[in-house]
């Protein structure tokens, strides 16, 4: 047995089903050994997308997604994908090949100091210098990635270590790390304090973030808020914690959020942030929101608490554990009047759009699409105007909503959707992107074709980098610079080139018929929707 065989055994021990990647000489021992395994390899078309695909898979399975790329440019290409996962706390284990240990530090061919380069985007990284360390390092890496605040871990393995003989393989049953023990269980005194505030509050609200989904606390949270009738808003990463049309849910907060959600948060007297960072896009003036209310901040990462807003009650721990602890407390709270006020806001604070009938109205289209989607369908939004429209108009039932929230990485949707589809082939998975973001990951149509991954793709085409154009519209008075996408390819021909079905929706006239065909079977389809180039999200 050699190091590469040991790596594969580690992945098998961790229950890994898929590895996304791109080979090169420095990772070839790994890709040779994996042929003996049942783990399926997916040859992605650029390394960044290997991390995105692994991210999509991780978000559906709750297990770290795995990618494996070669040294040098393979490793540097994957950094954006790793940074994207890091910003959204998605667990990944990313394996990079490395040059021979004797050549390390000598600027040899395809050598890059990847552990150094990626340091600020990983939860942890390893450079394996001894083949005997492989089982321990992999055991630790999967543990670190998927406990505490989730995140990517990178393992850099020189080619001679992959080829070195390993005398005996024993996968550690337990992780024994002296320095890493995340706090999972909430402090009992703090929990009691929160309950007391909930009893006292007249206008409580819970703002849920991605942490609720990462800790798989969705059901616990829903049960709790339904029992005590506590209203809920969410950050972008918290979309799909609550069904959009749930009577207690008032939408996404933030500068692209719903007016009623922001108003609800501002007027509350008790705000519980659960698994959310109080990040700048969700809360633009964190010092203001704490001024006239009790702020409870629940986060598994103690460093997030107090980073952006000083909470009245900090509560470190895993959201799931904490809501299970909340559920064990019995208390009374009464805020029907507050709910009625919020209901009133929901009814009255609505954005009136005046869509151009010559084009597809993204708002109406996305609403209609989500109504017709399978209840447990997975909607993957890309970045740009399409993302904001998706956040605003997608109606979540029991499905998931995936997007790159923290980093805002264009091109995320197609590879992430592929990962999600492979994670659960029975589920409908739809990637919605703009014509800019589509072209950033267009090469992955080949991967979809090669491995028969029937993701459905919608391109909201407006011929512009719409989000930047909108910014230039407001900030530079329509002085457009480098946002014109007029060289874009004809998507019908692109679809034909990759053997995909293609549909075109020019305006809302045929929306029912087109969507029925689009969603009608489990084949990949490319649906191009022509959107008014001048349409705005605000």
């Amino acid at each position: 047995m050699i190091g590469a065989d040991a790596i594969i055994k580690c992945l098998e021990e961790e229950g890994v089903k898929y590895v996304f990647g791109y080979p090169g000489v420095a990772i070839c021992p790994f890709y040779n050994s994996i042929l003996q395994s049942e783990i399926q390899t997916i040859l992605i078309r650029t390394e960044q997308n290997a991390a995105h695909a692994a991210s999509g898979m991780a978000r559906l399975t709750g297990r770290p997604g795995v990618c494996a790329v070669t040294s040098g440019p393979g490793a540097t290409n994957v950094i954006t994908g790793i940074a994207t996962a890091f910003a959204d706390s998605i667990p990944l284990v990313c394996i990079t090949g490395q040059v021979h240990t004797d050549l390390l530090g000598s600027d040899s061919f395809q050598e890059a100091d990847i552990t150094g380069a990626v340091e600020s985007f990983v939860k942890y990284s390893y450079l394996v210098k001894n083949v005997a360390d492989i089982p321990r390092i992999f055991r630790e890496a999967f543990h670190i990635a998927n406990t505490g605040r989730r995140g990517p871990v990178l393992i850099d393995i020189p080619i001679n270590i992959q080829n070195a003989p390993i005398s005996k393989f024993q996968y550690p049953a337990e992780v024994n790390m002296r320095t890493y023990k995340p706090t999972v269980k909430g402090h009992a005194v703090q929990i009691k304090k929160v309950i007391r505030e909930l009893e006292r509050a007249k206008r409580p609200i819970i703002c849920v973030g991605g942490g609720v989904l990462l800790s798989e606390a969705r059901d616990d949270l829903r049960e709790f808020v339904e029992k005590y009738r506590i209203p809920v808003v969410s950050t972008m990463m918290g979309i799909s914690v609550m069904p959009t049309e749930h009577p207690l849910y008032f939408g996404m907060v933030g500068n692209h959020g719903k007016a009623c959600a922001n108003r609800a948060m501002n007027e509350s007297d008790l705000l519980i942030m659960a698994g959310a960072r109080v990040a700048d896009r969700a809360v633009s003036q964190p010092d203001l929101i704490t001024r006239d209310k009790v702020l409870v901040h629940i986060d598994v990462d103690p460093a997030e608490i107090g980073k952006n807003a000083g909470p009245t009650i900090p509560l470190v721990g895993d959201v799931k554990h904490i809501f299970q602890d909340f559920a064990r407390e019995e208390f009374n709270c009464e805020h029907e009047e507050w709910l009625q006020t919020l209901e009133e806001y929901r009814r009255t604070l609505v954005v009136m759009r005046s869509p151009n009938p010559a084009y597809v109205d993204p708002a109406a289209f996305i609403t209609r699409l989500s109504e017709k989607m399978d209840p447990d369908g997975v909607y993957v939004a890309d970045v740009g105007q399409n993302q904001i429209w998706s956040c605003s108009y997608h109606i979540v039932k029991e499905g998931r909503f995936l997007t790159s929230g923290g980093m805002g990485t264009m091109g995320y949707s197609i590879p992430a959707a592929m990962g999600a589809k492979l994670a659960d082939k029975r589920r409908q998975v739809i990637a919605v992107c703009g014509d800019g973001s589509f072209q950033m990951s267009m090469m992955e149509l080949a991967t979809m074709r090669q491995y028969d991954i029937p993701v459905k793709i919608i391109v909201l085409k407006n011929g512009y980098l719409g989000m930047v154009r909108e910014y230039q519209h407001y900030t530079y008075k329509d002085h457009y610079s480098v946002v014109d996408l007029s060289g874009s390819p004809m998507l019908d021909k692109i679809a034909a080139a990759y053997d995909m079905r293609y549909q075109l929706l020019e305006n809302m006239g045929r929306v029912e018929e087109v969507l029925d065909t689009f969603l009608g079977d489990d084949k990949s389809v490319l649906l191009e929707c022509l959107v008014d180039p001048m349409d705005l999200v605000k």
Binding site: S120, R178, T179, K181, T183, D301, P302, A303, V316
Partner: protein
């Protein structure tokens, strides 16, 4: 802005110092000095960092550093409960006439002359930062040719807060109070 001294106990792994200093630079925290050396148990390294910032920054520094996987423990070394020492090497220009008076000043500070050449002396001085600064000020009348300072190393006084290297980690979880 206030100065604070943190003591870290970290795993003695390759790259651990770059992980710590990288965190300071990318988050824009100040490092006034950083010293590191292996402990009695070679698996661990003791790091002393002198930093400054307002309360919120200092709290973030403690949390962000504490979050690094290799960092086993971070604690503040409060001046009243700790001892700090720094070592300075100072090369002073000294002709034979000046020598005696420089040596006299050095004696008062219990500094040692560790090298003498025809035109210069090297003085070794250990103490807290205030002492070293006071000494350097006294040498103002002479010409300091070069100096090298180690930055401070520190330890808490007494038996309290001693981390037993083999003990379990329970006492270290980040419970907020």
């Amino acid at each position: 802005m206030q100065k604070r001294v943190f003591q870290l106990l970290v795993d003695n792994t390759s790259g651990v110092l770059s992980r710590i200093s990288g965190l300071f630079s990318r988050r824009g925290y100040n490092i006034e000095s950083i010293t590191a050396g292996v402990t009695v148990d070679p698996r661990f390294t003791r790091v002393t960092i002198v930093t400054c910032g307002d309360d919120e920054i200092l709290e973030q520094i403690e949390k962000q550093v504490g979050k690094l996987i290799d960092v086993r423990n971070i604690k503040e070394l409060r001046p009243e409960e700790s001892v700090y020492r720094e070592l300075a090497l100072i090369k002073v220009k000294a002709d034979p006439q000046q020598r005696q008076s420089i040596i006299a000043v050095a004696d008062i500070f219990r500094a040692k002359i560790i090298d003498v050449s025809k035109d210069s002396l090297i003085i070794e001085l250990t103490g807290n930062q205030a002492k070293i600064e006071a000494f350097m000020n006294l040498l103002d009348g002479y010409e300091i040719l070069e100096s090298a300072r180690t930055g401070i190393a520190g330890l808490g006084r007494g038996m309290e807060n001693v981390i037993h290297l083999e003990s379990d980690m329970e006492e270290q979880s980040h419970f907020p109070s």
